[in-house]
Symmetry: D2
């Protein structure tokens, strides 16, 4: 699974993100995925700010997370991100978080976003700049 | 959908739970679901503490959330919860959050939990007390 | 100390708010205070929305919290709130959180807010409506 | 102020950390300070895990934060940390967060911790290893 992802963002588990079971609270993974998504957009060269500047906002319509093992305070998670699919007005981001020190898979998941008109909040076509940026990044060698 | 749920927990949106888009941050819904799950277990008479006292802990193995509309600061969400399915060592909790003032559906979702041995962290059979408590609660009239 | 406060908001500790030490994460108390502040403004009849509608926003310029004892999952905290002082453009809110079941003091604290012009972000005089609402509430009997 | 701190941890503002006012929620700064504190202890060579392994835990008894300006999504904050004072069983950590791109001061603050016996939860003397590690780090040149 790792080799299908070109991008990852390393995130170190904060004390605040743990719960009384001693590991990362299950809800925090959505924040990790979201932060990896943010940085993935930098990697491909079409950031959230670029979209907003181009007159398009993004709302999330679905999230999924499968918890594969537990992560602990101070462990570094390499949160892999990629775009799995682009529809007319939706983008499916996929994630896989591995422990940096031993490659253990901690969680996988998805976020499905729709691109919207900031005024009407209605779906609009995913901009070509974004489509192109994803294609160039994901299809480039190395 | 509302009438299939017997239980709900009202939760008012806190300022801390909003983000720069002006609505509730998408990750917060898992916390809302988790809090409704906690209170659902009180309603059926078999709490998390009861399980732990009986020698069983719970880990979550999957979460899903579908975002149907946006919720805002100070709005009260009635977060409905029920058990959808109980397997050998897994329990599927289902959720639906509606705005209290107008019944608008905001989010639906699932949390799948496994019951585990606190020492070995291995799955164990869902205790009969929990199965019985769910059955009594969900099957009772009114 | 309890009897100097007329208002409190009961808040039950969520699983998400605990950390690996088994108690409430120290940063969560600011969220508790903030939520009590929100509800205090409802009690006095001059809410955050009322201020915004009247053309005034609020920024926080200082917070303090003293941790007196530990709070645990599912415990209900009665978070007391009042206004300690009102300056030209600043309001000092004071807080004290007690366990509902045994009156144990868990935390005390302060939030100092400034009222600002939403456009310029410069301090403006605390509106008379707010001053009056605080005075009426805090000075009324029972 | 910057030049009195030898250590800082760069932290990039996450979407989850913003609120409806468009900037970082005031409570998040305690999480930032706490994360900088964690990494400061790595820098001096006496980590939280080292303390726990040596039979000493830490509880926080006070926090303070002064908000000097607003921080926004994706801005990098260099969160400076140092030990201001060590008492018999208490340690005062001091913090100052600056924007990386323009050195603007965003927040200053303090966390006062007490070292405790993990069993009795009673204060114990701050270990000499910690005192020595702080002294060596803060007094070393460059």
């Amino acid at each position: 699974m790792v080799d299908k992802y070109k991008f990852f963002e390393p995130l170190r588990v904060r004390f605040a993100e743990t719960d009384l079971q001693g590991h990362v609270f299950f809800g925090e993974y959505l924040t990790y995925f979201d932060e990896a998504l943010t940085q993935y957009q930098h990697a491909i060269g079409c950031t959230y700010s670029d979209l907003v500047a181009a007159g398009v906002d993004m709302f999330y319509i679905r999230s999924e997370c499968d918890y594969k093992s537990r992560a602990f305070f101070e462990e570094v998670l390499n949160v892999h991100a990629r775009v799995g699919q682009i529809g007319n007005s939706s983008v499916t981001f996929e994630f896989a978080a591995f422990k940096a020190h031993n490659d253990e898979l901690v969680a996988t998941g998805k976020i499905i976003a729709v691109t919207i008109d900031p005024e009407t909040k209605k779906p609009v076509r995913v901009p070509d700049e974004f489509r192109g940026a994803v294609a160039r990044y994901e299809n480039s060698k190395e």
